[in-house]
């Protein structure tokens, strides 16, 4: 045998199970899952975390993470996470929610949780449509965007305007860290990971509510291949949903993050 100096630079995160995901090819749910698993592993929080899965494409998210998980009713994940956190305050809690779940059905629960400064972290996947039910109009669907329930394109006169969730939640005093990132290219993904780390650190430091909105692609329901989906996100979503930090409380800005 020849001794070789092998250095592992990429592996399956310790926070994952061995399951193959059910997500469509090209979907960025897998990327978002991986970033969460990496961040929790780097923080040493894998054994202390409880996840709350949504109703939507990520309904089976608990199959892919290898720590404790519960499954919420549609939109109610922030309430469910609140119940667990208030019963077991030392645990790290996060919800993983899509735009139908969080910004439509669950707008009451998310606003209330943020206003309370609930010590939970929310990961919000914005792909401008209802993925699981086959691509219907969501609160995040862009003006003019065609979906299976806005076949002529979203008409703002009758169907209203999209909701900029991060900006909305940032207005609440209880929200300590609210950011939007995108998953459409490698640089954006690296930035997304840093924001997720900050969000979980906010919770670990007891500094209040944190949320990261992640702009995501949905090639299947958008009817585009992966490459065109990434371009569509950059061309159409980024102008309407700019990435950035919409709320960084003073305490969060002074927070020291350990590790990398």
């Amino acid at each position: 045998m020849v001794e070789t100096d092998v250095k592992i630079v990429y592996k399956r995160p310790a926070g994952f199970t061995d399951r193959v995901t059910h997500y469509c090819p090209g979907c960025t749910h897998g990327v978002a899952h991986r970033l969460i698993a990496e961040v929790l592993e780097e923080m040493g929080e894998l054994n202390n975390t409880i996840g709350v899965a949504p109703v939507g494409c990520a309904v089976f998210a608990y199959n892919y993470f290898n720590f404790d998980f519960v499954e919420a009713a549609h939109g109610r994940a922030p309430a469910m996470a609140t119940g667990i956190k208030r019963t077991l305050p030392s645990k790290t809690l996060f919800t993983y929610q899509g735009d139908g779940d969080l910004a439509s059905m669950g707008m009451g629960e998310i606003v209330a949780a943020a206003a309370r400064g609930e010590q939970i972290t929310v990961i919000f996947i914005n792909n401008t449509n209802y993925g699981m039910t086959g691509g219907q109009m969501a609160p995040t669907t862009l003006p003019g965007q065609k979906t299976s329930s806005s076949p002529l394109g979203r008409d703002v006169e009758t169907q209203g305007y999209p909701i900029r969730t991060a900006e909305l939640l940032a207005t609440l005093d209880g929200a300590s860290f609210v950011a939007r990132r995108s998953l459409h290219d490698a640089r954006s993904i690296r930035m997304a990971k840093r924001a997720l780390r900050t969000a979980f650190e906010v919770q670990k430091h007891g500094l209040g509510f944190s949320m990261v909105e992640l702009l995501s692609i949905c090639p299947t329901n958008w009817g585009l291949n992966t490459e065109d989906s990434r371009k569509w996100l950059a061309e159409h979503m980024l102008p309407y949903y700019p990435v950035g930090d919409f709320k960084v409380s003073t305490a969060v800005s002074e927070m020291k993050i350990g590790g990398n």
């Binding site: 409880i50 709350v52 899965a53 309904v59 089976f60 608990y62 290898n66 720590f67 404790d68 998980f69 519960v70 499954e71 919420a72 009713a73 109610r76 309430a79 469910m80 996470a81 609140t82 119940g83 667990i84 956190k85 208030r86 019963t87 077991l88 305050p89 645990k91 009451g108 629960e109 606003v111 209330a112 309370r116």
Partner: protein, 374 residues
């Protein structure tokens, strides 16, 4: 232990604390609000969890999360709020979780009013949420009994991993009575092995109500039905008054049962052989006791503060072996003992026709009473 004069809502709240309540989630609604108010002060001072939720939907889903830890959690509400909670109750049942829900029932439907009623019998006993499930329903008739059943509610919720509803009415919630509160029980804060966040679980814990494969959902439903069979065999509770030699039996629960007892005692004094069966568990229902009575008595009178929601269950058990008369008041109106005494007289002096339309007869009486003519 000393007797203390306490309002029903507050007594239940304090009894829950003493039963080891770890977290409470609720929303203000009359006539239940004092329960939430009491816990808003007591839970934080004891270092336990309390959240005034954004809605009953929020509250029940917080309970859903808290129940996933397997630790003692509770919410309370009144009828319109409980309607909103039905979503979460179905999910709790579908995830086999223990939780206690206090429903201080008020008159309805819709916004209705804030007066005492028993019109939530159907939504709790026969399930107001989607899917097939049971909730254990306990119906006290006094503040002391409400206190005693609060501790029991947590015990059997945990024993069977089920939702237990303490079904009060506005009367019991608002009434002050002398009670003896129970001793403080130790508070368990480490989740059992099946709960999330447990240090004792051998592998990670995933709690969900999803069974995407229909045969696996069916198997789960069979498991739930089997457990319900066991509960029907072991957990039926009721109180009997003068049933040994009774020829006629009044059936009523909660406040209606308590008022009926006054009427039954008065009829006894007049020499009538009449008794009262007061169900304490509405689910599981005291089916066997009613069935045995149906084989030997001359007639029943069901008394409720509703349109006869329990009457249907009694009729199904009696199965026309004896006449089942009905007297109910609706919409938040509480019957006087002499109204029930009149109904008892009509039963005893009636034609004992087991096929008579008791609800129709009652409704005709009610139409006259409320001034709607014949």
């Amino acid at each position: 232990m000393a007797l203390e004069l306490i309002k029903g809502n507050i007594a239940v709240a304090e009894a829950a604390i003493r039963a080891g309540l770890v977290s409470y989630f609720g929303y203000p609604i009359t006539p239940q609000t004092e329960l939430l108010e009491h816990l808003s002060a007591r839970m934080p001072e004891l270092g336990r969890g309390f959240v005034q939720a954004e809605s009953e939907l929020g509250a029940i889903n917080m309970v859903y999360g808290a129940a996933c830890t397997g630790l003692r959690t509770m919410t309370s509400s009144s009828s319109p709020g409980v309607s909103l909670m039905q979503e979460g109750i179905s999910y709790l049942a579908g995830t086999e979780l223990p939780a206690v829900i206090v429903d201080v029932v008020r008159g309805g439907p819709g916004l209705g009013n804030i007066a005492p009623s028993q019109s939530d019998y159907t939504q709790m006993v026969h399930g107001g949420g989607h899917g097939e499930y049971h909730v254990i329903v306990l119906a006290p008739a006094s503040v002391q009994e409400a206190v005693d059943l609060t501790g029991l509610a947590f015990d059997i919720a945990e024993k069977y991993r089920m939702v237990v509803c303490l079904l009060l009415d506005g009367f019991l919630g608002q009434m002050m009575e002398p009670v003896v509160l129970p001793e403080f029980q130790p508070v368990r804060t480490i989740p059992p092995a099946w709960g999330v966040g447990s240090p004792d679980s051998k592998e990670r814990v995933v709690l969900t109500s999803i069974n995407i494969d229909p045969p696996s959902q069916e198997k789960f439903n069979v498991k739930m039905m089997t457990r319900w069979q066991e509960i029907e065999a072991n957990e039926v509770r009721f109180k009997s008054y003068y049933l040994e030699d009774a020829e006629y039996v009044v059936i009523g629960y909660g406040t209606a049962g308590r008022i009926a007892l006054s009427a039954v005692r008065a009829a006894r004094e007049q020499g009538h052989k009449i008794g009262l069966l007061r169900p304490i568990t509405l689910a599981p229902f005291p089916t066997k006791a009613v069935d045995e009575l149906a084989a030997r008595v001359k007639g029943f009178l069901v008394v409720e503060m509703s349109n006869g929601q329990m009457l249907d269950d009694v009729n199904a058990i009696v199965a026309k072996r004896a006449p089942v008369d009905f007297y109910g008041r609706m919409g938040g109106v509480v019957p006087y003992p002499d109204e029930i005494a009149n109904a008892i007289s009509e039963l005893i002096n009636g034609d004992h026709d087991p096929n008579a339309d008791a609800r129709g007869k009652w409704l005709a009486y009610m139409r006259k009473l409320v001034g709607m003519g014949e």
